[in-house]
Subunit: 137 residues, 3 copies
């Protein structure tokens, strides 16, 4: 089963999509199996990270912005704005797909794990497309 | 099939878990399919790397420690110790899930590939939880 | 179904393998499911990136070469040439496996997404081994 999701975003940051993926699993009625999340973009990515202290997300964003700054003279792909090439690099360093086991009808996440869409561009009012694939076993 | 593993760790470093994953495949009796490994933590991660020369693992650890040092003034999430926020960043830069084809009843790894749990924290005497999902085809 | 691919490479860079993966899906006759790509090497990796402007690929390569330079005095694994340890680190920072949903008999890639083998070594006339696993649902 494949289910398409559209996630509204409002600029750079981590957007928690755990409940969307959990809903797709419930809808599919899968008791045991594997959920795979795929993002159809190259300037946003996927991440599983701690969902307890919001400071973790702030630090992740600030650290990655420092590692991959805007307006680096190295960039030649600059036509789509100063945040575009950094977004491609950040996407390359993180994940386009993530697979999570399904056990007893639920995502087998660790206690502090949340699933995030990591938006790397500044644009407002956009939406990102994800696909949840479910393999039952 | 999902099989839970607990891997004891003794501080930072790469822990070879290849034989544990291979045992789960043998137990499941899968001739062809896909094995997916998932780690239920956000301060340790998964990696497939060369298993021939131990110097590769030493260099990987030292390089990542230099890229993501402790006590960086950027960090605001500091309550859980100086190794905690670096561990989250290292986890974000590596993998939470890995999928490996199963062919003729065995993991279809390359000649020099080993599967590692990469522990990013210093704590001693801990154990990390992994799940091996097997899809037969 | 697992299908083995051999991709010729001529030194560092991104090699588009999208059509090879698409052909494996057509051959398997999968209408809906999940395609997983796995690379059997630790000095080359997998990436999904923009396939529109070739400058993106140039910038990705130059950025990663600057982050992980050759001849870094940190390296102790130096017997296989100055490009070998950087290749292992680059491989660790990108992906060894990628999973892409199959919808209506085709890869559910975004409009601008291409699948690439990212070769991190300089050697000429080599070939890299990939496996495409297909799970139908």
């Amino acid at each position: 089963m494949n289910r398409e999701l559209r996630i509204p975003v409002q600029g750079q940051g981590l957007y928690d999509v755990t409940s969307h993926v959990a809903a797709a699993i419930k809808e599919a009625g899968a008791a045991n199996g594997l959920a795979t999340l795929f993002i159809q973009h190259t300037s946003a990515s996927l991440l599983i990270q701690e969902n307890a202290d919001p400071a973790v997300q702030v630090d992740l964003q600030n650290w990655l912005n420092r590692l991959v700054p805007e307006n680096d003279p190295l960039y030649t792909h600059v036509e789509e704005g100063p945040d575009d090439m950094p977004a491609h690099i950040k996407s390359a360093l993180t994940s386009v797909s993530l697979s999570i086991p399904i056990m007893d009808g639920a995502l087998a996440l660790g206690v502090w794990q949340g699933i995030y869409l990591w938006e790397h561009r500044h644009h407002q009012g956009a939406a990102r497309r994800l696909i949840v694939n479910i393999q039952s076993s």
